[in-house]
């Protein structure tokens, strides 16, 4: 069997494990689909009560949509290897002949598909229940920006998986510590431009803000109050995709080398 076929199987195996397991617990509908969207609903209602331009409501819905992916990247990707280590499973990944990137990709794909099902509920709430409207848009442009954002975001999650493992028990606290600041610096519920230079810096580091801003531009045109032209944001997202995927490979290789040298990363008591 070729290496590519092996890694594709491994990716699908890990994706399947994540999907089938999650759909077995119907409580996710409440905890992962309904509750995370309440924040988004609150902003929509706030903008409506204040009489803000209607585009601001759509702006909050798009932010709420990407917030669900950010939660998944933090908890489903970043902290995952640490939990795998705690359960004693990480060493089985290291012994398997497939690439660790393939397993991480499976985790990412499974997480993405699950989160997409969850975020669909948010879109339903925003656009159907709350009646939020967007401008006529190009579907290919929307899909390409969304795809770029997702690849960059989940590649960041792959990097975090290795880094969080290196930092051990701090992973839990890191996830908690990163959630709100990144959400704020990405302007999920307000135009990123409001943050000024800080927004530009944040957008250059975390793909969440760039993705939100770019998606809003596709859906709302001038009403997006964009940070920078769409083509720049797309180009930056491409760069972030490449950088994070490369970093993920490097971090994984470093992690594996460290595990072999020190013997302390693959056993839960080490």
């Amino acid at each position: 069997m070729s290496t590519l076929a092996l890694n594709l199987r491994a990716t699908w195996g890990r994706t399947y494990g994540r999907l089938v397991g999650a759909f077995r617990e119907p409580t996710w509908l409440i905890t992962d689909a309904i509750l995370p969207n309440l924040g988004m609903l609150a902003f929509v209602m706030l903008y409506r009560a204040l009489g803000a331009p209607r585009s601001f409501e759509a702006l909050a819905v798009v932010g709420g949509l990407l917030a669900t992916y950010w939660i998944n990247v933090l908890w489903g990707m970043g902290a995952q290897f640490y939990w795998e280590k705690q359960s004693g499973q990480l060493q089985l990944y290291f012994v398997a002949p497939c690439s660790r990137m393939a397993i991480l990709s499976g985790m990412a794909l499974g997480g993405f598909l699950l989160t997409t099902a969850r975020s669909a509920f948010g879109l339903f709430l925003g656009f159907v229940v709350m009646g939020v409207r967007v401008e006529p848009f190009s579907l290919p442009a929307l899909l390409s920006v969304f795809a770029l954002t997702m690849v960059a975001l989940y590649a960041l999650g792959m990097v975090m998986a290795s880094l969080f493992l290196l930092w051990g028990r701090e992973a839990y606290h890191l996830s908690n510590a990163l959630y709100q600041p990144v959400q704020f610096l990405s302007g999920l519920y307000f135009p990123l431009r409001t943050l000024g230079p800080l927004g530009i810096v944040a957008a250059g580091i975390v793909p969440l803000g760039l993705g939100v801003d770019a998606l809003r531009q596709v859906l709302l045109g001038a009403g997006a109050h964009a940070l920078m032209p769409l083509r720049f944001e797309n180009a930056l997202l491409v760069v972030l995709c490449a950088v994070f995927l490369w970093l993920a490979r490097v971090a994984l290789a470093h992690l594996e080398s460290l595990a072999k040298r020190e013997g302390r990363l693959t056993q839960r008591w080490q």
């Binding site: 069997m1 076929a5 092996l6 199987r9 491994a10 699908w12 195996g13 890990r14 399947y16 494990g17 089938v20 397991g21 999650a22 077995r24 617990e25 359960s87 004693g88 499973q89 060493q91 089985l92 990944y93 290291f94 012994v95 398997a96 002949p97 497939c98 397993i103 595990a259 072999k260 040298r261 020190e262 013997g263 302390r264 693959t266 056993q267 008591w269 080490q270």
Partner: protein
């Protein structure tokens, strides 16, 4: 060392393998493996016996590409564990006692299927193989049960099945029957023996704390302690190492006057066994060397207030060999092996 046939290299070939760990809190270095040489031919079931911290798990971790050696060379199925780690991984399976593989929310079948995909097993092959393994592991009724609803023993049986799901050339079983009940452990031993018999060239490296498991299964057994291989031979060959003298087992009433702290009686090294709570006695084993006086041992015991309830003599067992070579029983070790270190992580 005989040169390898490149068409048929040994399953495991280890030369001068050394692994040192940095001790915690600047305590220098601790040697977990000190120049081990082992050659395991294809088709063998090879046992590795040693007390906790002897270096067994360290050796297995190096052979399964989880750990770099400090010095020496190790090859599995003809491939170097450092340079050709990917090729080694394609050919091996690993089962560690007490591990918890899989995700609690998956069923037994789904978990095994997931791991089969990490080894690239095609779907048409994986299905029947997993069904067979589930049957062998006695988990047919639990095939559709979530892992988090399995008992510890059932989960360990599933882990065992996972190690064979890729039909590997070499399987490393690190205390695989830990947590299993007697019947399940017996079924697993029978499966391992049948698996090797029915698939020529397949090899098993087994570490175990159960002497009779090693006696029953292994073609050859190596005894390791403090990172050094003390002996390596068939059970018959090992027995010859300590033949001579007489193996004696006593049953002694527990009011032993402090004898339990003694390493020897009348100059004869002794090993205390587990207590018998109902009778209030404890087993005491020793090998009386040729010319040794049983009467002297009994006299010293009685002088210390112990009452001897029964005396039996028997043939040399693997445990006798182990005690003779290591100087203590397998159950006397006091630390969990952890890369040759204690639970503190030192080294």
């Amino acid at each position: 060392m005989t040169p390898d046939d490149p068409q048929n290299p040994p399953a495991v070939d280890v030369r001068g393998l050394t692994r040192n760990f940095r001790a915690a809190r600047g305590g220098g270095e601790v040697c977990a493996l000190g120049g081990v040489d082992v050659r395991i031919e294809r088709g063998e079931i090879f046992g590795l016996l040693g007390p906790n911290g002897a270096g067994k798990t360290t050796l297995i971790k190096i052979l399964t590409t989880l750990l770099f050696p400090t010095a020496g060379e190790a090859r599995v199925a003809g491939f170097d564990v450092i340079r050709d780690a990917g090729e080694v991984r394609r050919r091996i399976g690993l089962v560690s006692g007490g591990e918890s593989s899989g995700y609690g929310i998956l069923t037994v079948r789904e978990c095994l299927w997931m791991f089969s995909q990490f080894y690239g097993v095609p779907g048409k092959v994986a299905g029947p193989r997993i069904a067979g393994l589930i049957e062998t592991a006695g988990l047919a009724e639990q095939a559709r049960t979530r892992i988090n609803r399995l008992s510890t023993g059932q989960r360990q049986r599933m882990n065992f099945a996972r190690g064979f799901v890729s039909d590997p050339e070499v399987v490393f079983l690190d205390e695989p029957t830990l947590g299993m009940d007697v019947n399940a452990a017996r079924a697993m031993r029978e499966y391992v023996a049948r698996w090797v018999r029915e698939r020529p060239g397949r090899t098993v490296l087994l570490t175990t704390h159960t002497m009779h498991e090693a006696e029953e299964l292994c073609d050859r057994i190596a005894i390791i302690d403090h990172g050094r291989l003390l002996a390596c031979d068939s059970f018959a060959g090992l027995r010859r190492l300590v033949e001579g003298g007489q193996h004696v087992e006593l049953e002694v009433r527990a009011s032993d006057g402090g004898t339990r702290a003694l390493p020897s009686l009348a100059g004869v090294p002794i090993v205390w066994g587990a207590p018998h709570p109902e009778r209030g006695t404890r087993a005491l084993k020793f090998r009386l060397p040729s010319g040794g006086s049983l009467a002297d041992v009994l006299r010293e015991l009685e002088a210390r207030g112990a009452r001897i309830e029964a005396i039996a003599t028997r043939e040399t067992s693997l445990e006798d060999v182990f005690v003779a070579l290591v100087g203590r029983g397998l159950e006397e070790s006091d630390e969990r092996e952890d890369d040759g270190a204690g639970p503190t992580g030192a080294p």
